[in-house]
Amino acid sequence: MRKTNAIAVITILAAAMFSYAQNIQLPMKKDSVKFAVIGDNGTGDKPEYQIADKLTAAHQKFPFDFVVMMGDNLYGGEAPKDFGQKFEKPYKALLDIGVKFHATLGNHDDPSRQISYEKFNMGGKHYYSFKPKDGVRFFSLDSNYMDKKQLDWLENELKASGSEWKLVYFHHPIYSSGEKHGSNLELRTTLEPLFVKYGVDVVLTGHEHFYERIKPQKGINYFIVGSSGQLREGNIGKTELTAKGFDRDNAFMLAEISGDDMFFQVISRKGETVDSGNIKRAEKIKKITTSR
């Protein structure tokens, strides 16, 4: 019992120290939508646990309500013990206080097991949408299997979502400077026309094991957050696409939507802020209106 208490005290102190080290630069406005982004995290190895600790520490200063996962949620085996080792244990502190995780499927994920796993909040579906608050909607896609049914569903959902913030997330990036994979042109040809037509604001992906913010493409902001467990050091090639890249360490993202602003901050395993900024939705609408 004494040992358990001591561990709890050490954990709280460690979290407090991390929290002190992490300088949160987000506005933390009242009634904003606060969330975190992790991707390619499910290794069960030390870096995943270290990022999870940083995420937990960040939550003390920036109490996000949910985390979106960019896929490759569980690498290797997917036996019941793997769900514990690669997900429930590293994120236990967040799960215990009710932070929700919303997963999307990566190419290393077993759909049959993950879509029914309640802690991934996929509702038994390969693709789904959710609305954390009026005016903001997230769409999770299965980019491994983009069939007609899914495309029809996406178009209907986007059409029905009206003037809300529209954030789409899936595993394979359609814009990327990665030397290993690069932009997925097949998916871009299929998805981008829908994103443009229905005014998608932000696209979040993983697959590349680094962080990259892409210069806005056709008015849409693209982020790759694929290094929250895995890391492919030095893999960002020189392209015209990169607004900011970070491939030297693992990272995760915090974000906040308030009115027509989305603020974001990307934090490394060492607690350094490697990127931050603000996307203005109103500008995008104006730009689209002007170009028409």
Binding site: A79, F83, E118, H126, S143, M146, D147, E186, T189
Partner: protein, 195 residues
């Protein structure tokens, strides 16, 4: 008892309901495609009967991953028992194989064919050297949960006959498989589909 129920269910499967199947790009008048759709639907009707008889996942309680795995295994075992004599080509008949191979070839020869080919044979393909597990291409075999699933290019998917949700086309190397994603089972194999 479970398998007896399954066998009974198989005997009582009625006429196929053709919702969710059919070719994406016309061609539904082709007898080979129509026959393929019928075979797919018969398989899916069987799947549903077997899955309904398997131990349910309690939706009211937070499901333990062990319950999810148990449900998946019971479904797979039931389907295997019901399709004990299933063989390659039972669904991918020789007639439809010709059509599917030609369709895939046409898509992979198009303007974005090189990208689509790379997508099929790339990292997610379990024959890729980086894959942590090998997939044994055997009808009724379990697809190893630690093996990646190939990403299927949208251009190819949109040109192949549609499948019910839960039944998927996937690639293992150059071979196309019909994959039951809810039972984690290889249902049929079309060898050398990518040429």
């Amino acid at each position: 008892m479970f398998f007896q129920c399954v066998m009974l269910a198989v005997m009582f499967i009625g006429a196929p309901h053709l919702t969710g199947v059919g070719p994406a790009k016309g061609g539904d008048t082709d007898p080979a495609i129509k026959d393929f759709n019928d075979r797919v639907q018969r398989y899916w009707d069987l799947h549903k009967k077997v899955e309904d008889a398997a131990p349910p996942i309690d939706k009211k309680k937070e499901p333990d991953p062990a319950a999810i795995v148990a449900h998946e295994r019971a479904t797979a075992d039931g389907i295997r028992a019901a399709r004990m004599n299933a063989a390659e080509g039972d669904i991918f008949t020789p007639a439809v194989q010709k059509i599917l191979v030609a369709t895939i070839k046409q898509e992979l020869s198009s303007g974005r064919g090189a990208t689509a080919r790379a997508m099929i044979l790339g990292e997610g393909n379990p024959k890729n050297p980086e894959s942590p597990a090998r997939v044994d291409l055997v009808v009724n075999a379990k697809y190893p949960p630690n093996a990646p699933l190939s990403t299927v290019p949208p251009s190819v998917l949109l040109s192949l006959p549609k499948l019910p949700q839960g039944l998927e086309y996937r690639f293992v190397g150059r071979h196309l498989i019909l994959y039951d994603s809810k039972a984690n089972l290889i249902v049929d194999i079309l060898r050398n589909a990518v040429r």
